[in-house]
């Protein structure tokens, strides 16, 4: 069964309906809200599967359905729906992971008084995210993009009575909006240059050859138009996907409930930036054929990705909060995806996006399971010894870790990461990103070993950890399901049978090479992973932490480095001291102008009218009746009180206003003369 493209809107509409209904039902019915959300998600998942089946039947085809939103000028502003394998795979992934996380949430949020609202926001998020995936218009995508930002804002700040959560929510919204301004400008530019924001429109869309050819013209600054537009759009992806230098919001976003971190800040929304760049890949790569450009759009993407991959992994080494470690790991993995996009292998990026969604959701839900069992203790120094108390969580978490680290052959993360390393190695421009990625592999293995050792091995180091026991099936079953996919998903894209990659690029046949094509590189990465795990085990596993207060072995070996990394390399402080202070400065300047300059105009007019008042007072007193006198006396008293408050500065105000008026007059006269 296939889902025709004109009915694709049903996929986001189902969770949207669930969100609308659960917004209106009474507060004390969280069960109903949860059931609605889950039912809508089952529906969306099934529809996504049908859509994917339809897309895979003709993988090379971009099926579109465009429609008019509103009249604008002689024509209208059009939006559209798009179905191709990329959309299909993403929809299936998002709806399936969402479904599992919704189920997990019924257990995790059972005791929360606002659980109804939680499911309402989750459904809203799912609707916006799925809408983003099916859009055939950059404008519609942008609309959904902002709406997932809203859902993320609402969910990070879900425990709004916590000041830290409220602050983190605002930080996330504002930081991503900084990136979105770039995105918006790119979008405006594209609309102005092309007259359309549709991706595909039977030859007239901006991702189709005719438009791309016209976008490769050079700008006065030497860049191609497509480079500039592509980089502006990339700004949005940098914000949303937590790339350097806008990565600072993502770790703070962990203030939200853990299922939110799993769904939004690990599996789906943060990957939207990667999806966006993959979607507009023809635009991003339009300048590749041009030689002699100072800059190619994808080169920037590759470097930003490599920096982020390395930076995230480094900072993760020195964090102690289980969710923050995973958050920085997400930052790092998103960097790998961007790197893949930048070096030209968008299919490798999407492959890693899909596998990462499953194993990172698994890790976050595993962390949620630990946190829930340990009475909201998140500090790994306080945990320990959970491997025996929580068998299912431990085993599934281990599987997730092995997938993330890239333990060879049997785990999905290995194959997708291998594809990225392979692509980075083959990049013609520079080998630096490749080296950064390789170093990141060692660090990833290291910090995950540390995380495992501190959380699950040794002895419990607090009452909360002593007390922990395995959670109910609503929470463990999603873990098992995700663990299953964290293993098998890799086999969709091995070098021997790159089914996923072939379908994404629209090939009907799958052409595999040997399973061990590029075995040299594979061998290298196996050695690196072993190295990372070995170091990690030597430092943290062999002698587990004695007490919660004991110094971290790495901190005693390199205290300064450790402190700097633990402080996230001071990015927050740097931004507060520069961008933050600049904003405050401009705001103070604006407030100064308000108080001391623009008010001068009012004072001038007040003085002027008072003067005329004095002149005509004689007439008033003779000609007008007593009632009016009372009013005018009141008026005069007001004016007097007012002028007393301002006395002494009138001349300054007067001058300012006079200058302003003369200046304006001159400008207009000059303008008229020109």
């Amino acid at each position: 069964m296939n889902l025709p493209v004109q009915f694709l809107w049903l996929i986001p509409a189902l969770p949207l309906l669930a969100a609308a209904v659960s917004a209106l039902i009474p507060r004390h019915s969280p069960r109903l809200a949860a059931d609605l959300a889950i039912a809508a998600m089952v529906g969306a998942f099934l529809l996504s599967c049908f859509a994917l089946a339809g897309a895979l039947a003709q993988p090379a085809l971009h099926q579109v359905y465009n429609f008019s939103w509103f009249d604008l000028g002689p024509g209208s502003l059009r939006l559209g729906l798009l179905l191709d394998p990329l959309t299909g795979f993403m929809c299936v992934m998002v709806s399936f992971v969402s479904l599992l996380i919704f189920i997990f949430s019924t257990g995790y949020m059972k005791e929360d008084a606002n659980a109804k609202q939680f499911f309402c926001y989750l459904s809203l998020f799912a609707a916006a995210m799925l809408g983003l995936l099916v859009a055939n218009s950059l404008l519609l995508l942008f609309v959904c993009w902002e709406l997932v930002g809203l859902a993320s804002y609402l969910l990070i700040g879900f425990w709004f009575h916590k000041p830290a959560a409220a602050a983190a929510a605002k930080k996330a919204f504002i930081t991503t909006r900084i990136g979105d301004l770039g995105f918006l400008i790119g979008l405006l530019w594209l609309q102005d240059a092309q007259g359309t924001l549709l991706f595909f429109d039977h030859g007239a869309g901006f991702l189709e050859p005719a438009a791309l050819a016209s976008l490769t013209q050079l700008l006065p600054c030497g860049l191609a138009a497509s480079t500039a537009i592509g980089l502006l759009i990339f700004c949005g992806a940098v914000g949303k996907s937590g790339q350097f230098p806008l990565h600072v919001w993502l770790p703070d976003a962990m203030e939200g409930p853990t299922p939110v971190s799993a769904l939004i800040h690990a599996a789906t929304m943060v990957a939207a930036g990667v999806f966006l760049i993959a979607r507009v890949y023809p635009l991003m790569s339009a300048d590749q054929a041009l030689t002699g450009l100072p800059l190619h759009a994808l080169t920037v993407v590759a470097y930003i990705g490599a920096i982020t991959a390395l930076l995230g992994a480094m900072i993760a080494v020195a964090q102690n909060d289980i969710k923050r470690i995973l958050a920085f790991s997400t930052v790092s993995q998103l960097g790998y995806m961007m790197l893949a996009l930048g070096v030209g292998s968008w299919v490798a990026a999407i492959f890693h996006l899909l596998t990462h969604a499953f194993f990172k959701a698994l890790l976050f839900l595993g962390a949620g399971s630990v946190i829930h069992a340990a009475h909201h203790e998140q500090d790994i120094r306080q945990l320990g010894g959970l491997s025996k108390k929580m068998r299912v969580t431990f085993i599934t978490f281990t599987i997730g870790t092995m997938a993330l680290v890239g333990v060879p052959l049997f785990f999905s993360g290995f194959w997708s990461k291998e594809a990225i390393l392979h692509a980075a190695h083959g990049w013609q421009v520079s080998h630096l990103p490749f080296y950064a990625a390789v170093l990141g592999v060692v660090l990833t293995a290291f910090y995950n070993t540390r995380l495992m050792a501190e959380t699950f091995f040794g002895k419990p180091r607090s009452h909360q950890a002593e007390d922990a026991h395995e959670n109910g099936p609503a929470m463990t079953l999603p873990l098992v399901a995700l663990a299953f996919f964290a293993i098998v998903l890799g086999f969709l894209g091995t070098p021997a049978f790159p089914w996923l990659q072939s379908k994404l690029v629209g090939e009907a046949e799958v052409h595999g090479e040997s399973l061990f094509a590029g075995a040299g590189l594979m061998g290298l990465s196996i050695v690196l992973v072993a190295l990372g795990i070995g170091f990690g085990w030597a430092w943290y596993g062999r002698h587990t932490r004695a007490s919660a207060e004991a110094t971290d072995p790495l901190a005693s070996a390199a205290p300064r480095t450790f402190a700097a990394l633990a402080n996230r390399l001071g990015f927050d402080e740097l931004y507060a001291a520069t961008v933050g202070r600049l904003h405050q400065g401009v705001a103070s300047f604006a407030a100064f102008l308000e108080t001391y300059v623009w008010d001068g105009a009012i004072v001038f007019l007040a003085r002027f009218s008072e003067y005329t008042g004095v002149v005509s007072r004689e007439n008033d007193e003779q000609g007008l009746n007593a009632g009016f006198d009372v009013t005018s006396r009141k008026l005069r008293a007001t004016g007097d009180a007012y002028s007393k408050a301002q006395s002494g500065e009138t001349h300054g105000y007067l001058r300012t206003l006079a200058y302003g008026f003369v200046l304006l007059l001159i400008l207009v006269i000059l303008g008229g003369a020109l």
Binding site: H583, T638, L667
Partner: protein
């Protein structure tokens, strides 16, 4: 019924109501002192709906016109008419005004006098949107100040007398220049009729006749008219009267001032200044663009620094209306080079007028609720954790905030997107800098939301009473329109798209 003078009925029903309520104020039973003004106020919505039914969007000329000789010696006519621009503003007035009266607390002082003053204000605003001859138009324009002055002064906060004084003096100061400008125009052309004057301007006769006066007069006339509207909108930096007036006015008057009266200035720019002075406006557009940009960016930054919530919302109005002027000046500066961008900019302006009316009125009402509950407090730091005890209020106010910061899916986005799309096509660097305004708006509105609604309950936020039925009914229509217009902008664009398309192709 088809022969009824619909537009005259629109304008004068509120005035007749004001008279009746005022005369009968002592005889009326207490309940009617509230409901009678409300009923008269609702007339605009009903008559507006009738007008909508008879309106043909595809006709770009004035419709339902009424023209009668008034003062023969001065060639003054009583001339009313409407096109898509007037229509959406009439509808906006019809939506906001009854909600203002309905949302006014029952314990207000002298409800009948308040009601009749408000009806007077409502009728004057409608007159401004419908009159096509300068003479009656100016009467409506000035008459709107009188009830506004008394509403602010007698029903406002502690600083109200001074704010009302400033408001009236400043805007009358602006109007004086406007009047002088039109006196000169009349001297040169012998007519007050906007349509005739626009035709003269299009054929170039107006410019020739003004030039014949010689000296700096052509520029001074333009500048006078410009100043009159610049104060009213307000154009940065002629906005100094606005924050105190909006902040000190009673809640309902603030809603009307920002929802409807602030549109009078932009209407003046579109209906009068632009068609009558296309060449001078084109010449002056460069500096004016900078001023509009100043309103967008510095207005938002000034809002960021306010600790009084009402002043914050007032500055956000400066920011939002400056987008309209930015679009208009971008169009005026660029000429017919890029019709697609011009159409987008003008459509965005009209949408923004309507959308800002909805969201700013809703925000002022929300701040009014907070003032009401806390005995007059409206500081950023006076509240905390309101969402804990008043989730419905938090939800409603949240929708209004996100509408105001231009979240897609709500009404504010479409207008701002079209404005940016147009301005980018005409003057790209101005559009790029103006995006800063979007960022800062998000920053201060989210700060508002965070400080008042989030965190632990504190200050006046402790045991905050949630919305009552009257407040829900006042806000609900506004919220529903925010969603409806965000999802289906066609509801509005369908009314004015042919008009705007005609503007863009036959630029004055």
């Amino acid at each position: 019924m088809n022969n009824w003078p619909l537009l005259s009925l629109l304008v004068f029903t509120p005035w007749v109501g004001a008279l009746i309520v005022f005369v009968l104020r002592r005889q009326l039973p207490t309940s009617l002192r509230h409901t009678l003004p409300l009923l008269f106020s609702l007339s605009t919505l009903v008559l507006g709906a009738l007008t909508l039914a008879r309106f043909d969007p595809s006709v770009t000329a004035m419709q339902l016109t009424e023209k009668h000789r008034w003062i023969a010696a001065l060639n003054v006519h009583y001339h009313l008419g409407l096109d898509g621009l007037s229509l959406i503003l009439v509808l906006l007035t019809g939506i906001i005004s009854p909600l203002v009266l309905f949302g006014t607390p029952r314990n207000i002082r002298c409800p009948a006098i308040h009601g009749s003053l408000f009806l007077l204000l409502q009728g004057s605003a409608l007159g401004v949107f419908l009159a096509l001859d300068f003479f009656p138009w100016f009467v409506f324009w000035e008459l709107s100040l009188v009830p506004a002055f008394f509403l602010i002064k007698f029903w406002g906060g502690p600083g109200a007398p001074r704010a009302a004084y400033q408001f009236v003096i400043y805007t009358i100061g602006g109007s004086a220049f406007l009047l002088l400008g039109f006196a000169a125009l009349y001297a040169a052309t012998g007519t007050f009729d906007f349509i005739e004057l626009a035709a003269l301007a299009r054929s170039g006769v107006l410019a020739t006749k003004l030039a014949a006066v010689g000296g700096f007069w052509p520029q001074a006339v333009f500048l006078g008219v410009l100043l009159g509207f610049a104060v009213k909108v307000p154009l940065f930096p002629f906005h100094a009267w606005l924050p105190p007036a909006y902040a000190e006015a009673p809640t309902g008057t603030s809603m009307f001032l920002t929802g409807v009266m602030s549109k009078m200035g932009v209407y003046g720019f579109l209906r009068i200044l632009w068609p009558l002075f296309p060449a001078p406006l084109h010449a002056a557009a460069g500096p004016l663009l900078w001023l509009a940009l100043g309103g967008v960016v510095l207005g938002a930054y000034a809002a960021m620094r306010q600790t009084d919530l009402k002043r914050m919302v007032a500055y956000s109005s400066v920011n939002h209306l400056s987008y309209c002027l930015l679009a208009l000046f971008a169009v005026a500066s660029s000429g017919p080079a890029n019709p697609a961008a011009t159409t987008a900019a003008l459509s965005g302006t009209l949408l923004q007028l309507f959308n800002h009316g909805l969201s700013a009125a809703a925000l002022f009402f929300c701040v009014g609720i907070m003032e009401n509950r806390s005995g007059g407090k409206r500081g950023l730091a006076d509240f905390g954790g309101v969402r804990t005890s008043a989730p419905i209020f938090a939800g409603f106010c949240g929708v209004a905030l996100f509408s105001s910061l231009g979240l897609p899916g709500l009404n504010g986005f479409v207008g701002e997107f079209l404005i940016f799309r147009g301005v980018f096509g005409l003057t790209p660097s101005f559009a790029a800098i103006a995006t800063l305004g979007l960022l800062v708006t998000a920053l201060f509105l989210l700060t508002f939301w965070q400080r008042v609604f989030h965190g632990p309950a504190a200050g006046a936020g402790i045991k905050f009473r949630d919305l009552d039925t009257r407040e829900v009914i006042t806000l609900l229509p506004l919220l529903m329109l925010m969603f409806a217009l965000g999802l289906v902008p066609q509801l509005l664009t369908g009314l004015f798209n042919p008009l705007v398309t005609a503007w863009a192709t036959t630029l004055p």
